[in-house]
Symmetry: D2
């Protein structure tokens, strides 16, 4: 299949949508990104890589980081994680305290903010230098040693992230955060600030398309069972309150971030990363969502 041709056609198809979404404006560093940016990168398990548009430009990965921290933690502590976090779709906006109170402090899944904070708490417990180790993990997955945190983004989020601070203190009040809330938030804001390109991301998610093993360098990132489970979690909980919509229209496990990135995985074949900063009302990249829908239409790929 000529992926290069397909992604170029998609780039053309979605170009009228680029000014339709709203760029996330809650922190200056994100608000300053041009809404006309658009990139796609496809990485196959055979080691090929196809890109178009701004696929090599770095952006703030934000919630995409939750997949990396989850993979690290699942590999380290296994099923013990599920005592502290659930595996069900949330049925509510991604940072709702209502849900958390209703569930007595156990977040419904590791991809809502509350659940991701618990995962980050585990990262801190399990690593001597969590920020360095996390960055190292991501660099290895992406095969790019220049990936780093954007301190200005991390600082901005810290100064304005009162809702995340509320979540962290709330989790702490339920005894579901072992470290100091301020410490957990610091690592969390840093992981969200990781700056990566579509190319980096498609490459870094490839182990999930290959049963946990990086097909390029042969590294075992996590076991086959864990890889399948992360895909299952992305399928059910990866797109905030549009998980069903994404399954319905795209039909692949995926994860989005408010920086405008979405990454999806076709098990056994490929991973694909798209980036367009304009968001729809659910907080997912408007053109990116459409691009992935077109990708599965044009290629007839779908897990269903």
């Amino acid at each position: 299949m000529d992926y290069q041709k397909i992604i170029e056609r998609i780039a053309e198809d979605v170009s009228p949508l680029l000014d339709k979404g709203e760029v996330a404006s809650y922190i200056p560093a994100l608000a300053g990104v041009s809404p006309s940016k658009f990139g796609i990168a496809v990485a196959t398990v055979r080691g090929e890589c196809f890109t178009t548009g701004d696929a090599s430009e770095c952006f703030s990965i934000q919630s995409l980081s939750k997949v990396f921290t989850l993979a690290m933690v699942m590999d380290r502590i296994g099923d013990a994680l599920w005592e502290r976090v659930g595996r069900e779709a949330s049925g509510n906006p991604f940072n709702s305290l209502v849900q958390l109170e209703y569930e007595h402090g156990r977040p419904r899944n590791p991809f809502i903010n509350a659940g991701a904070l618990v995962v980050t708490d585990c990262i801190i417990l399990e690593n001597h230098d969590p920020m360095r180790d996390l960055r190292g993990f991501v660099r290895t997955c992406a095969g790019n040693n220049t990936i780093g945190y954007d301190e200005s983004v991390a600082l901005s989020e810290k100064e304005t992230g009162h809702r995340n601070a509320a979540l962290a203190h709330f989790l702490k009040s339920y005894g579901n955060l072992y470290n100091d809330p301020g410490r957990v938030l610091d690592v969390y804001y840093h992981q969200c600030s990781l700056s990566m390109s579509c190319k980096d991301l498609a490459r870094a998610f490839l182990f999930l398309a290959n049963g946990g093993t990086d097909p390029v360098n042969g590294n075992i990132v996590c076991g086959l069972r864990q890889a399948k489970r992360i895909n299952a979690l992305m399928q059910t909980c990866g797109l905030y309150d549009e998980g069903g919509e994404f399954a319905f229209r795209v039909g692949l496990p995926g994860k989005s971030g408010v920086g405008g990135g979405i990454v999806a995985v076709m098990p056994g074949e490929l991973s694909i990363a798209v980036w367009s900063p304009g968001l729809n009302t659910a907080g997912n990249s408007l053109a990116g969502f459409k691009a992935l829908e077109l990708f599965t239409t044009y290629t007839s790929k779908s897990i269903f």
Copy 2:
């Protein structure tokens, strides 16, 4: 792959679980079923059928009927349905009025009871004799002209189903039910009372494993796109509040009913129906859930 051997091994593996669940007791007709019943049927797109245990014994399909009505309606009115029903997991018990109020009368998906009532409302709008037409549809899918409603079950549910009556009136108060609530409930209780065996069900769901076309008789039940979308909906919303758990442990699109049946689909390959009346606390067949988990483990089948 020797499916016969595999399902027989599974039947043996799960036998200690048969008395662990709770048989649904809210209506006498269901409460009277022996908890030791257990059956599996696998139907492949190549036309093979494998069965073990009580796979030929009929039971009340209950919520499994929601897949049949959805397929009928999606084929008839297409995307117009989504103006009245959403496509997101509910994140709440399956018959919650809270969710419905929060969403102003638009059920989150067609598999929670409220959404299924809206689908049934559409069935009534679109068919001259909805009960006969629905039965005919199911008989054709299953290739079995003896399938029928169990009037005693339907009557029992009508007499005790005050919560469903509340849902129907609540939908009506939001203008999201066009027919009289009593009429909709009558058809709904009948569809739930359909009496089928694992063998019937595996056969009847086969079109969803084959892109909408019945691989045995060549009937086009629905289009490829619709089939994929029904699978996506089953994946995200098919197991009440255990959709994430099912994706995590089984990794196939599936649908369950309080009669103890669960049907799952491996796109391109097969459909599988299990039956065990004992339910777990989430209302899904306890042994049936485990049987499907073992099936994907032993066969290494999973969409992820």
Copy 3:
């Protein structure tokens, strides 16, 4: 104190507000009332009665009827009622199913619709001919044998009251309704349809200003303790989601109805009924609320 002068001054003060509210439009019988109607009646424990404006014109008392049914039931079954209904303000719109689900089918108080349905269920259990007995009770309290049900209003409400039907079935599903939901709704819609004037209402509530005994004819309507408790309930739960606002601005126990009536009680002294069909966004009479605020300002009466 010259009550006549005071209520005339109030009538003048609030006249600019008469066209500011919205007349309840959900049933034709209510929608047809002229928004310029306005009446006040004051009845004192010494037997005086003062009126102004349309104080002798009958209107639909709607939720004001909940005080009459509560008084009947408290006198008959006493504290047994509180096993089925709570005594706390609801903190939610008056017919919310969310609250009811959260509280497992026990309505928070007898003045929200769900709680009033339970009270009506008790009325049916305790009376051979509940509708005749209720009408008789109200006639005696008001000293007016011409008071009756407005069948057209009752019928209209039955045909459109899907939300109340949902509440009734929901209560039934929790086992907190002993009679058939349809039967309870029928009596409930009739009690809401009672047609009374401000003069009738001020007179009929007088027993609550006099420790349970009608000061005019000496009838003991209920005990002193019950009268105080009904006043306490009106104080905390009588104005839907504006109970606090009413306490804050008016400072008297009171009860409102969507027909535009509000009745308030000054214990030991008087009861006052106002009527103006235009409602504020919380469903309480806009001009009526203001009139009562002015009454306590001009008379310096307040329980606080």
Copy 4:
């Protein structure tokens, strides 16, 4: 009326209840208090004071402090406060984030923790040295210059108060906190740590029984209208989720704290403070609640 005799009789009546409640244990300073402590103090507008039991022993006033801060703020900024806080009963446990999210960051009333934090935020905005000024205000009301903060209690609450921290950050995320959350929490924990006796409290609340003016020294603490309104707020929102129950059984405006204190006001006559550290399941003093019920029974005092 012989108040001395009455309160002594009450002390005897409730003595069997003293070991029935649960002493608040979330901070060591509170947990260490003996459950057998019990005191009553009555202060009349004529300047009399009656006490029994441990009425002179200081305890942690906790939420009773919310009345003092509210009085200070209402006197200073008047109705501007109501743009930031509501006046309705909450219908939910006192520190629920659910309610706050549902109401978009505007707490329902000034006596739930979220509302009290907003009031404290105002105190900080309006006073150069908020902690000294607040202490001065309370000392003047109580006529006792030895009243002070218990730093060990304040520190304990700071270290364990993750839920209050969550509330503060949540309010900040809605823009309804002007100062730094940490600063607001610091003042808040100090106000809760104020150490006072029943005698101090009865005396300090006397202005609310006397239209805003201290009847002993003639100080105008707040205007008549404000005093009535504070009483109305105590009536509807003063006892967490038992406001209705308190109105029903006691029939006076009142305010409780988890330290085991409850203060109630009989407008025009007296204020009464009771203390017993054992709490009921709603977080109100078990014996204190009963003592106040007996007081209104024995004296036939009630606003209803």
